[in-house]
Symmetry: C2
Subunit: 270 residues, 2 copies
């Protein structure tokens, strides 16, 4: 089963376009968890158990696990093991490198760790991401327009009458012979998101930035979903997993995930 089918199935089953970002930083965990043997794993397991029927995907940001040092990679792997098999997993590594290095990254994310999807940077061009494109059953979400202020520095530069991010989207569409490319577009840019949705057709778009980063749910859902009412994956990290810093953190995460899932569904077409 390829990524598109897996995503379609879980979106239908859980009636959810919500992805929860398991960006676990030990110093932010509830005090009673921080003293445990593997606080990050215990916390993530409880979050997953509390939210698994409300999400279509979990995203793990590699930076948080690298910051844990030598044990981080193993923690990341063990968190993946507690995620139910029918839920999509996204390795948020934003890798981009040339030649055999790109192959090493693709192998680590897709084979060694077993993620269903990854994020990657397209800016070094097609051969720099060919090993990702070659994984036909997997999906790679390419950075297209990010939600931060610095997106203005390069991604909006005019290239032949269109913004650079639009050129990125068009180019990745041309790379998408295996139907396994997705796009990362921040929720803080709903107008641009609508344009990118037109360019990329039904391809999946991963949309961070609702919640902590201030993007509007209504505007992002209307702009980001495909004509079928899906194809968009809305990621929320801190807003869900740190909904409470008390002993009720898992229940609080569940309540917050349900609220966001339902708010997204309110604006879905179809």
């Amino acid at each position: 089963m390829n990524f598109t089918e897996k995503l379609h199935n879980v979106v239908n089953k859980n009636q959810s376009l919500l992805c929860v970002g398991l960006d676990v930083a030990v110093e932010r965990l509830p005090a009673h968890v921080r003293g445990r043997e593997n606080p990050a794993l215990e916390f993530a397991r409880n979050i997953v158990e509390a939210t698994a029927d409300l999400v279509c995907a979990y995203k793990l940001n590699f930076a948080f696990y690298e910051a844990m040092g030598a044990g981080g990679w193993e923690t990341l792997r063990r968190i993946l093991e507690v995620i139910p098999a029918d839920i999509a997993t996204i390795g948020d590594a934003k890798r981009g490198d040339i030649g055999n290095t790109s192959e090493m990254y693709a192998r680590a994310i897709f084979e060694d760790l077993g993620f269903d999807a990854a994020t990657a940077a397209p800016f070094m061009g097609r051969d720099s991401v060919q090993p990702f494109l070659d994984r036909r059953e997997k999906c790679t979400f390419f950075l297209t327009l990010t939600s931060n202020p610095g997106a203005r520095d390069f991604l909006y530069l005019d290239v032949g009458g269109k913004p650079f991010y639009e050129k990125v989207a068009e180019t990745v569409v041309n790379w998408n012979e295996n139907g396994n490319c997705g796009f990362v577009v921040g929720a803080t840019h709903p107008e641009e998101l609508a344009g990118i949705r037109e360019t990329v057709g039904d391809a999946p778009i991963l949309i961070p930035g609702i919640g902590a980063q201030g993007g509007s749910v209504e505007a992002s859902v209307r702009a980001g979903c495909s004509a079928r009412g899906d194809g968009a994956i809305f990621n929320v990290s801190r807003g869900v997993i740190y909904a409470s810093d008390g002993e009720d953190y898992a229940d609080a995460a569940r309540n917050r995930a349900m609220e966001i899932r339902n708010e997204i569904n309110k604006y879905r077409r179809g």
Copy 2:
């Protein structure tokens, strides 16, 4: 001592602009090493011992260590420990991400692992790399023009009458208030390298692509060095570390490193 001073000192001491890339892939190691307890560490230690008086820096590409799985991070850390303290270390991670994620990456590379320098992707804009810029004693080499064919896809796009990579170089120069920015420019583009050198003044340029990727040493040295005859760091990975796949691999690496160092010095100005 900041990175610039450290680099200057070791360049003078070893009379070398050569950086050896410790891109260790266990399956490529000499057969007699592959059976050892930690083949990557043993191999890297022997390469370092054989070449440490011939180089200005060692570069470790994170992809190779991530591909080792859970033990990779620890192997990377232990290799760093066997590098003499006066030689510059470059963490080739090519990270780029937004907000607090960028801070996590900078902390992992500079504090947790203790690298002197890192590579990073500038394409998401200034705030995405601010944590790197804030490390005043460290150096961050920003991807500017890569040595692969796919560089044509985006990095040469015309933006207001100049190529995108030139705009990247100019923008990073503006970010360089702490004098701790460097640039990554492939040796396969000597003409463009000369233009970037003009734009960035004396800033360090990390130049991969001589050797395995076919860039000319003479052209790259003439184009890449600053007016003082330094400021360029030439990285060779496979060409040095896999110079022999026999029991003489460390001697062979030493001989090859000496050849390349001397060839680079032949064309240095000043």
